[in-house]
């Protein structure tokens, strides 16, 4: 125990701890919405499309996360636009944006002169190198998400459950769909540093699957998901530190182990 307390005297570890807490809040809440509404695949598309922005960021010499933010929001809108107006089937539309983003990213990274530093940390996450600036951004996002989901809890719930019925009740369905798409995009981008593009989908789905074993209520599922996400991120963080293995992968692995254990215990 002492050794864990001692870890908190290191700035990088405090940052990593805060990052896992804030990631749990944003991913736990937004992930519950994603899972309930069955838009996991859309979220996967947005996640991978954001790699285009990371490549662009390297090429233009700006913060790759800014590029990723732009790309993820654009792809979120693009997926919706393609399938609603362009008559492209939704899963095909997702695949197009998913691979287009990755392709753009690879081309830009190739065109960038010299070596692209930290590229691996964007792909696979690197929670131990999260900067204080990034922590502030994650905190701001967590506050926005908590406020948004608290203030508009019922509106979000009703729209997610039955969009057509919500339209007949005159709820601002289109507006909320776009706002939530933006929140999903921002959640993905700001958590890329924690577990990486390739692995972030897990933070948005596995804690929710675990939470779902305990509750069939949207509101409670959000709370439990935040709890499980935090538990697995923190345990994963410690394990990765002491075993000296990659943090992102360890966090995901911990999530799956927790899910498996809970499922097993519930079966008896």
């Amino acid at each position: 125990m002492d050794i864990i307390i001692e870890l908190f005297s290191y700035d990088f570890f405090v940052n990593a701890f805060l990052a896992s807490l804030l990631a749990a809040i944003s991913c736990g809440i937004v992930g519950t919405y994603i899972v309930s509404r069955r838009i996991v695949f859309i979220s996967g598309g947005i996640t991978h499309a954001s790699f285009g922005g990371i490549g662009m960021g390297y090429y233009l010499g700006i913060n790759p996360l800014v590029g990723a933010g732009i790309f993820s929001i654009l792809s979120g809108m693009g997926i919706q636009l393609f399938s609603s107006k362009g008559k492209v089937r939704e899963d095909s539309s997702i695949a197009i944006w998913w691979s287009l983003g990755m392709a753009i990213g690879i081309i830009f990274v190739y065109l960038t002169p010299g070596y692209a530093p930290n590229l691996m940390s964007y792909l696979f996450g690197s929670i131990l190198t999260v900067s204080t600036g990034e922590i502030w951004l994650m905190l701001a996002l967590a506050i926005v998400i908590i406020l948004f989901f608290t203030l508009f809890y019922r509106t979000i719930l009703y729209i997610a459950f039955d969009e057509d019925f919500a339209k007949t009740s005159d709820l601002p369905v289109g507006l909320f769909n776009y706002l939530l798409m933006i929140l999903i995009s921002l959640t993905i981008v700001l958590n890329i540093r924690v577990v990486g593009i390739i692995l972030i989908l897990s933070l948005l789905t596995i804690p929710q699957a675990t939470a779902n074993l305990f509750t069939l209520d949207f509101g409670r599922m959000m709370f439990y998901s935040v709890g499980f996400a935090f538990l697995s991120s923190f345990i994963g963080l410690l394990v990765s530190y002491f075993a000296d293995i990659p943090s992102g992968a360890t966090i995901i692995f911990t999530q799956v182990v927790i899910f498996g254990l809970v499922k097993l215990i519930k079966a008896f």
């Binding site: 069955r38 008559k87 057509d164 019925f165 919500a166 339209k167 007949t168 009740s169 005159d170 709820l171």
Partner: protein, 255 residues
Amino acid sequence: MKKLLEIKNLSAGYDNQIVLENVSLDIFSNDFIGVIGPNGGGKTTLIKTILGLIKPIFGEVNLLINKTNVGYLPQVNQIDKRFPISVFDVVRSGKADTALFSSFHKNTREKEKAESLLQEMGISALRNKSIGELSGGQMQRVFLCRALMNEPELLVLDEPSTYVDNNFEGELYLKLKELSDRMAILLISHDVGTISFFVKTIACVNRNLHHHPSNIISEEQLASYNCPLQIITHGDIPHTVLKLHDEHEHHGHHH
């Protein structure tokens, strides 16, 4: 007798493919209309146009009452049955106009209304269940409660008797008959025989719409309205269904 809705020369459909053509219909406050017709004939398109979910390609739909005073019970298969939501929350969602800033209010009256509807339908005990745990009949009761939350002037139901047992089917139609004293009802069904006991008039929808001014309709008339009939006897209630009907739905309905 108040006019609630007028549809004039409506053509509607999806992606410019016309499903309904030149349809006109008026609905008054004392109406109880059974809407019948083959699958793909445009029944659901008609009500989605009435509810404003589909924009007319041609013609007009004029709702003469407030949009929130239309109660709606969608087809069960449009609902995600594994969505994490409780029965009580589903019913409360029927009064969504208070949802936007509901976190600031106690919503006491809304909750009481939901409780009393659950009681009226005899499903108070299911209050905290998740909708995924319900049987077909229980689910339809929940959605009927939701549709009634706003004290609607017009109640629109899309195949409420799918996936329910015969027992509940009879109960449901009796309930609707009782409700029809208070509100206009538009009921989509594929079961002409059963609903004709309860409705006042019948609308045959198969690309066009023929509003038959009575609840008694002969096979010849149906044929002339482009809705040919077939009679299936199953259990105690003879089911008269449309010939062009898809077999799957019988399956779900009768077993």
